[in-house]
């Protein structure tokens, strides 16, 4: 006869662990990227590309226009992030995305070995 609350039951999981004990694949990749220093290099490369293609200047111009409209004491960082995140994500050139994906892909194939 089994009792409902057996002392041998495993402890009740608390809120932080309801994602599962196993880190998901995205996490593993992220950690591997950071540990090998590849993420830093990718970030630098991405920054360079976005400057080259004028994306940074476009975003800067958007922010400036917004600040001009609102007045410079009425703008917070969160406002600006909220403003340019959708436009920024949409206007990244395809070539930059492709290059980044290619780099990540080659990193993964080399890291998996």
């Amino acid at each position: 006869m089994t009792r409902k609350h057996s002392v041998n039951r495993p402890p009740t999981p608390d809120g932080a662990e309801d994602q599962g004990n196993e880190p998901i694949l995205q996490e593993i990749i992220n950690i591997k990227l950071i540990e090998s220093g590849e993420k830093e290099r990718l970030m630098e490369m991405l920054r360079e590309r976005l400057i080259e293609c004028g994306w940074k200047d476009e975003m800067k111009a958007l922010c400036r226009a917004y600040v001009k409209k609102k007045g410079r004491n009425n703008v917070t960082v969160d406002d600006l992030v909220h403003l340019i995140t959708p436009k920024g994500r949409a206007s990244v050139p395809d070539s930059v995305k492709a290059e980044l994906l290619q780099r990540i892909r080659s990193f993964l194939t080399s890291a998996a070995l």
Partner: protein, 634 residues
């Protein structure tokens, strides 16, 4: 955020920051100083408890968030994404005194309650110190006091970015001082200082005397005298007329050795920029040009655009002969073909008077089918004229039956644009007419683009539009091996340093067998972006936004220089086809000057906007940068 970061305007701290500083003593961020890690590439500062720490949010355990903040009070890390969830804000609101956090990837202070960045002088100074220590690669002095960097800390924002050297204007050292004194003649000495400074006019403004219907030459010369790359070339002594003539005299002692249009240009530059304000007579230049273009040598009125082309050819020819004698004939043939083709297209040949015969004959002789594949990179290095004005046009002809596209590249020194046919719709034509009638003081600041007013951008758009070649102009398709109807599209593969736009203001009516001038007003902008007319843009719009390989190094051509241009000279024509007058408007230090032969007067920009443009000269904005500054004392 304050715009004068390097000045003395510092942003005011928010109440939470003030409170935090008040509560935590004189150096509240001391503990963070040891956590500043500077990554060698680029010197970005980050906050890590251990050098290899992977920060993750304490609530959701995610490390891949884009903004992670570490609470300064309790060192707990949280993510902050205001739209989705902000565990940082949750933490800040739940525990008073924990509102201030630091961005772990950027080492910037943040107030989670206000949702905005905050600044602390000591903390920023410590970050700067860490970055400079890292950059100079000395032994670690991170244990030293933060006070040491208060000297360097006056410009924290500047050093946050990559290391830059502060701007210092050039001063000659002692050796250069001496050689300057020995070999130069001061432009501003006691004798002519009063002459120049009293009139307050910029350098290089000097009237040109009309030597007998030579306003066509004067107007183009005025424009060329202030073409920045050309002016810099000649004033920089890159073509010295004394040395050049000596060379020519030594090589071949024929009469033609004295003829060098570039030397004459050099003489004109020296005369015009000498500071003398009395009008100058370019007689020597006129004589040289007559020798070069013998068929145009007369006191009759000429076409300014024709003169422009002929002059560029003259400069090219002479320089070419000196350098590469074997190649010059081919180049000249190609150039003249391009020139003559534009003539024929424009029906200008029939519009001009007696010279028609001469021109038609010479073009007929030269319509030899030459190789279409001209080296795309060519046309730029042969002489200064081409270096400045030469661009490359791309022409795509697509067979409408099979889709086979044949692409050709042609160098060009200018772009001739058709004026759009009368767009006057129902009510819109009235606005166009009223602009034509008022010649002066027309302040047409906001014309409706789609109304009856022609604009330069509209003409360029028409130029690069895909055009159906009519059934009488069928192109031979190589794939179908028959003549088929085709679609032709022009685009610009390589932009020149200076773009010259020529407006075809001549209309030939075959019905009435006469030509007339089109006086319709054309609106032209002071700043022009040529990006939509480049081959890359045109092709992209044809195929959609895709990554696909361009032939050759297409991308280099458009990425090389920027596509923004600034207007600096406008040549206008007033009068009829056979009798008229040319006037040039020049833009110097953002002030417009009307150059009417020997008379130069400053004018308001509204007059220029209302003028009837015939040729417009635009220079790359990067080369025009300094022009807007006051050049009085430089």
């Amino acid at each position: 955020m304050s715009s004068k970061i390097n000045g003395h305007v510092s942003p005011q701290p928010c109440p939470h920051l003030l409170d935090f500083r008040f509560r935590n003593g004189p150096k509240p961020f001391r503990a963070l100083h040891d956590c500043i890690r500077v990554k060698p590439p680029g010197g970005r500062a980050a906050i890590r408890r251990e050098p290899s720490e992977v920060p993750r949010c304490g609530t959701c355990e995610e490390s891949s968030r884009s903004r992670l903040y570490a609470c300064v009070a309790c060192a707990a890390v949280f993510c902050h994404a205001p739209l989705l969830h902000s565990h940082a804000s949750d933490h800040a609101l739940s525990i008073p005194g924990h509102e201030i956090a630091v961005d772990v990837d950027r080492a910037e202070l943040f107030c989670c309650a206000c949702g905005d960045q905050v600044y602390d002088r000591d903390f920023d100074a410590a970050v700067v110190l860490a970055q400079t220590v890292n950059a100079t690669a000395t032994t670690s002095t991170s244990g030293s006091t933060a006070m040491q960097c208060s000297v360097a800390g006056s410009q924290p924002e500047n050093l946050r970015k990559r290391r830059r050297v502060d701007y210092r204007p050039w001063e000659p050292d002692s050796g250069e001082h001496i050689s300057r004194g020995n070999q130069s003649i001061p432009l501003l000495d006691a004798t002519n200082a009063s002459l120049v400074s009293s009139t307050q006019q910029p350098w290089g403004l000097r009237g040109l005397n009309n030597l007998g219907n030579t306003c066509f030459m004067n107007s183009i010369l005025q424009a060329l005298l202030h073409t920045p790359p050309l002016r810099n070339y000649f004033l920089g002594d890159r073509h010295n007329r004394y040395y050049c003539q000596q060379k020519n005299g030594a090589i071949n002692g024929t009469k033609n050795s004295r003829l060098c249009l570039a030397c004459d240009m050099d003489a004109i530059f020296s005369a015009v920029f000498s500071g003398d304000r009395t009008p100058y007579s370019p007689a020597k230049f006129l004589y040289s040009w007559w020798q070069h273009a013998a068929n145009l040598a007369s006191y009759e009125q000429q076409d300014a655009h024709e003169f422009f082309i002929s002059m560029l050819e003259g400069i090219h020819e002479k320089v070419e002969k000196d350098k590469r004698k074997s190649q010059s004939p081919a180049r000249q043939v190609t150039k003249v073909i391009v020139f003559s083709l534009t003539l024929i297209n424009a029906e200008l040949a029939s519009a001009l008077r007696f010279r028609t015969a001469g021109l038609m004959m010479s073009t007929a002789l030269l319509l030899i089918p030459s190789s279409n594949k001209i080296d795309p990179a060519g046309g730029g290095d042969c002489c200064i004229a081409h270096r400045v004005f030469s661009g490359i046009l791309r022409s795509d002809v697509m067979c409408m039956v099979c889709g086979f596209t044949s692409t050709t590249y042609d160098p060009c020194v200018d772009i001739s644009l058709d004026l759009e046919p009368n767009q006057g719709g129902s009510g819109k034509s009235s606005s166009a007419k009223s602009l034509n009638s008022c010649n002066v003081e027309a302040d047409c600041m906001h014309p409706n683009q789609n109304g009856g007013i022609s604009t330069l951008n509209g003409c360029l758009e028409r130029f690069t539009r895909a055009e159906k070649l009519g059934s009488d102009q069928k192109f031979f398709c190589q794939k179908c091996q028959v003549r088929q109807e085709s679609l032709k599209q022009m685009s610009i593969r390589k932009l020149p340093l200076v773009s010259c736009f020529h407006v075809k203001r001549f209309e030939h009516s075959s019905i009435r067998k006469m030509s007339r001038k089109v006086d319709r007003f054309l609106q032209f902008p002071f700043s022009l972006d040529m990006a939509p007319y480049l081959s890359s843009s045109i092709l992209r719009s044809r195929f959609g936004n895709r990554i696909f390989p361009f032939d050759g190094d297409e991308q280099d051509a458009s990425n090389d220089l920027s596509t923004e241009f600034e207007l600096f000279a406008v040549v206008t024509h007033s009068g009829r086809l056979d009798a008229g007058h040319y006037v040039t408007y020049l833009r110097l230090s953002n002030q417009w000057y009307k150059c009417d032969d020997a008379w130069i007067t400053p004018v308001n920009e509204s007059i220029v906007r209302a003028a009837q443009g015939y040729m417009m000269f635009y220079v790359q904005k990067v080369l025009y940068y300094k022009e807007s500054e006051n050049q009085g004392t430089s």
